[in-house]
């Protein structure tokens, strides 16, 4: 009997430590999926809060704070009231800063920083186009240099190009070429199931606006 209880306890202990890692991965997977499929700001706020909690449990990991920031950016995008967008993008900043602290040379983090600048620009284009625009371009270029096969790099560059072309009434051909290149790179499976893999749906949607 004692042997059985010991074995049971041992099994439980192993489960517990293994559970932490497993729990972390499950929680991350679940919330990444939820974040990618939600367009509701309230839902996204709850998901961002969950990533924040996961980040507190795994303080040396850059992925939880990366996703917390990304969730806030999405929340700002889907927020209907223009007045609130800027404040929501500001909520993304502390998490972005933490991700930069933890992984300053990680291409996806650099890209996220560019994404943040691009969204802040859209919130106040007249006053910010001269400072945030060039900074976003610079960061996208840096991310491209880190990994030229990252589909999100071309998605972001495509967005910048598309927005400018629309504003000046120019052809969106360059932007569309970037979106198509982006799409072709999504079919490659990512290295790790928790690594950033978002953006395919968005790219497909942008291509439908192309001729």
């Amino acid at each position: 009997m004692k042997k059985i209880i010991t074995t049971l306890l041992l099994a439980l202990t192993i489960t517990v430590t293994f559970a932490n890692d497993e729990a972390y991965r499950n929680a991350m997977k679940e919330n990444i999926k939820a974040m990618e499929s939600s367009q509701n700001p309230e839902e996204l706020q709850a998901i961002a809060n969950t990533f924040e909690r996961i980040a507190k449990m795994a303080p040396s990991e850059w992925l939880p704070v990366y996703y917390a920031s990304l969730t806030y950016i999405r929340m700002g995008i889907f927020e209907k009231q223009n007045k609130k967008k800027d404040a929501i993008f500001d909520k993304a900043k502390p998490f972005l800063d933490q991700a930069i602290d933890l992984a300053p040379t990680e291409g996806e983090v650099i890209l996220l920083e560019g994404y943040w600048h691009m969204m802040k620009l859209t919130a106040d284009p007249v006053n910010r186009s001269q400072t945030f625009g060039p900074r976003a371009d610079e960061l996208f270029n840096q991310a491209q240099a880190k990994n030229s096969e990252n589909p999100r790099v071309y998605l972001m560059k495509g967005h910048m190009e598309f927005g400018t072309a629309q504003f000046f009434g120019n052809s969106t051909e360059n932007a569309c070429a970037l979106f198509r290149k982006s799409l072709s790179l999504y079919d490659k499976a990512p290295s790790d199931e928790l690594a950033p893999s978002w953006g395919k749906g968005e790219t497909e949607y942008m291509i439908t606006n192309c001729k």
Binding site: I4, L8, A23, A27, E42, Q45, A46, N49, T50, E52, R53, I54, M57, K83, K91, P94, V126, N127, R128, S129, Q130, T131, G133, P134, R135, D137, E138, T164, F167, F168
Partner: protein
């Protein structure tokens, strides 16, 4: 074996059937208002929930027993509560305390207008200064549409709240600019020497300014240059008045921008008739360089240098009888060098050290008289800022001004005169954030001039109280001292400091892209310089026997929301002022003051045609002038000042902009005053000449191109 298996299955089943514990409650702020989106969780677990629109939350967890509940929400202090999950997990109300955040704390805005991208409560953005119609990208002209300023069109300078133009001082990165305006002749409006696109932030104070500055009885204009450009580019400008070119090169730690400009109004004057008789249309050559070096990780060295040369010649009527045409020429050389270094030491100290060198030489030829005024000034300054605690910081600074002014003429007995002064200044000031809603800023200023060998101590205090999350009340009191100008000191170097006391009360509301601001002020002047003689001619009997007062009310309303894509602001100033100074026989209303001043600035971006349209309407009530043919001093009244100016900027391509502007579209003949002859004519009358605008209207057209690695950048900021 079967018993073991049964035990195992039972244990597993029991584990599975453990009910979820529920924690329910509400998250609110100190006043009981629900907070949505707060993060509520069990410490050291993933188990958590978010609060809904009303602040209510429902947390499910498999844990039981004693634990800690944590609540976090941006802008508020984290809150921890011991909790027993079985027994007291329901009906919790947790009030969060607002976190003290210096960025959110109330900043004192009394008596100052800030144009900044970074400061949250700035009423203006740097771009506003350059897109204001009627200003043609001149900083002072744009600031003249704000309350507290007077329309003194024949000078182009800032006259603030009943103060003379000499009562305003200009600083770049905290260092003094002795002569920020181009020199002009014949009552022609001047403009600022510095391009607005050099600056990332501007603070225009209309009174009660910081103890960091002194030697300005009325106001300070503080310009802060851009920290570091983002990438290489070439800027070209082709205008109806000249051309300019600038090149920016950016490296990892260093950057340099050089620019050259040449302006010549002769072709323009040939097409558009002027009121003045120019025999040499203004010709200006200007060159400058900006250098940046990130010397240490957090330290930045900024160097700015500028050189310009300008020549203008007109025919004007002589001073004595206003009957004879006299050729007058002005040849000006100007040099300015400004170097400053700012670094952080540890987490609590910020140190700034800087030096500025000013050189201005004005060569006048008036008929047979040659007159030269050469001014040199060196400004050395050191400031230290120390974070005493999260709620208080201390700023201390010391500075020296070395000025040397030389007057040279070809008149016998008045050949050469030199005036040297060494002024030492020091200040201490503290920002005390008593709460998130109440800030106090006491300060003390000390100056000592070796020329008059007298010290002066000037205390200052200001405070702001946040009445709601978007409004504040603030108050400022300060004493200000200023040495009389070198033009006066040359006759008597034992004059005393001129003094002014300011009392300002302000209320500001900023909500939903609309700003409303009202300020009441009282200024008391003492020891103003009085003399006998005419302002241009030799003076005698100089003394500090003058005094005066200025009371008034300023109103500012800005609305970026009501009309789509339209941004407009309205400034109104009411001024009641009298003073005894210069050669006034008694206390009177000075000639630069007008009781009512109104500016309406309108900006409209039409995205379909990618054009920004702007219009400015200005009004100034009649100004006084002294008519020697009349008994009473300063009894004459000019007509009111009226001006409508328009501009348009067309974004042709991402990096090409067409710009056009017209000032005084309606061609109103604004008269700023009258120049009277010094001697009466045969009938005992003094002849007069109206002081009016250089021309009814000023037309300007320009094409601006930016070439850079990133095609999208353009010179929208420079217009």
């Amino acid at each position: 074996m079967r018993t073991t298996l049964l035990l195992l299955t039972l244990t597993l089943q029991l584990t599975a059937s453990f009910a979820q514990e529920i924690v329910k409650g509400k998250i609110t702020d100190q006043r009981g208002q629900g907070l949505p989106g707060a993060n509520i969780y069990i410490k050291h677990t993933f188990d958590g929930a978010s609060s809904d629109k009303e602040g209510n939350f429902l947390l499910k967890t498999k844990r039981t027993g004693n634990d800690t509940l944590v609540v976090s929400f941006l802008g508020y202090e984290n809150s921890e509560h011991p909790i027993h999950l079985r027994y007291n997990g329901e009906g919790l109300t947790i009030r969060l305390k607002e976190a003290f955040n210096k960025l959110e704390a109330v900043t004192i805005s009394v008596g100052a207008f800030e144009a900044s991208d970074e400061k949250k409560y700035a009423a203006l953005k740097p771009l506003d200064i350059v897109t204001t119609a009627g200003a043609t990208a001149d900083i002072s002209a744009a600031l003249n549409t704000l309350p507290g300023t007077q329309k003194v069109g024949e000078t182009g300078r800032l006259f603030v709240r009943g103060g003379d133009g000499s009562e305003t001082r200009t600083f770049i990165d905290g260092l003094w600019v002795q002569n920020p305006y181009y020199s002009t002749l014949g009552n022609t409006a001047s403009r600022g020497r510095f391009s607005p696109f050099l600056f990332k932030g501007t603070t225009f104070s209309t009174g009660g300014y910081s103890a960091e500055y002194s030697q300005a009885l009325s106001s300070t204009l503080s310009l802060n240059t851009i920290d570091f450009p983002t990438h290489n580019k070439t800027d070209l400008g082709l205008m109806t008045v000249g051309a300019s070119a600038a090149q920016t090169l950016v490296g990892k730690k260093q950057s340099i921008t050089t620019d050259l400009g040449y302006w010549n109004l002769a072709p323009y004057f040939a097409i558009v008739k002027q009121n003045r008789d120019f025999d040499k249309a203004p010709e200006v050559f200007q060159g400058s360089a900006v250098y940046r070096n990130k010397i240490t990780e957090r330290g930045l060295l900024k160097v700015y240098g500028s050189y310009s040369r300008s020549i203008v010649g007109i025919h004007q009527l002589d001073d004595v009888s206003l009957s004879r045409e006299v050729p007058t020429q002005l040849d000006n050389s100007f040099g300015y060098l400004n170097a400053s270094y700012k670094d952080f030491i540890g987490s609590r100290w910020v140190v700034t050290t800087g030096v500025a060198y000013n050189y201005t030489k004005d060569d006048y030829k008036i008929d047979q008289l040659n007159f030269q005024k050469k001014e040199q000034a060196i400004h050395l300054k050191n400031t230290w800022k120390y974070d005493l605690s999260e709620r208080a910081d201390l700023r201390v600074g010391a500075e020296s001004f070395f000025t040397k002014t030389t007057f040279t003429t070809n008149i016998e007995n008045f050949r050469r005169q030199q005036l040297n002064d060494e002024l030492t200044g020091a200040f201490v000031e503290s920002d005390i954030y008593l709460t998130n809603n109440l800030t106090l800023r006491p300060g003390l200023r000390f100056d000592y001039s070796t020329l008059i060998a007298e010290p002066t101590f000037n205390p200052r205090i200001s405070t702001a109280y946040k009445t709601s999350s978007y409004s504040q009340v603030s108050f400022a009191y300060g004493q200000f001292a200023q040495l009389p100008s070198s033009d006066l000191m040359r006759y008597d170097s034992k004059l005393k400091y001129e003094k002014a006391d300011h009392y300002i009360l302000s209320y500001q509301v900023m909500k939903n892209d609309r700003t409303l601001r009202g300020e009441l002020y009282h200024k008391k002047y003492n020891n103003l310089t009085t003399y006998s003689g005419q302002p241009n001619g030799p003076l005698s009997s100089l003394a500090n026997k003058g005094n005066g007062y200025a009371n008034g009310f300023d109103l500012f309303w800005r609305d970026k929301k009501t009309f789509k894509n339209i941004d407009y602001w309205i400034s109104y100033s009411y001024l009641d002022t009298r003073r005894l100074y210069q050669n006034f026989p008694k206390e009177a209303i000075p000639t630069f003051a007008s009781t009512h001043n109104l500016s309406i600035v309108y900006k409209h971006f039409i995205s379909e045609i990618r054009t920004q349209l702007g219009a400015t309407v200005s009004y100034g009530s009649p100004r006084r002038f002294n008519n020697p043919n009349q008994e009473e001093f300063n009894e004459g009244k000019t007509p009111a000042y009226k001006d409508l100016s328009v501009n348009a900027a067309y974004l042709y391509k991402e990096n090409i902009i067409f710009f056009a502007s017209v000032t005084n579209v309606l061609g109103t003949n604004n008269i700023f005053g009258y120049r009277y002859a010094l001697a009466a004519d045969e009938e005992g009358q003094f002849r007069r000449e109206a002081i009016n605008q250089g021309a009814p209207r000023f037309f300007f057209v320009g094409l601006f191109i930016t070439l850079s690695q990133d095609k999208k950048e353009n010179q929208l900021d420079t217009l």
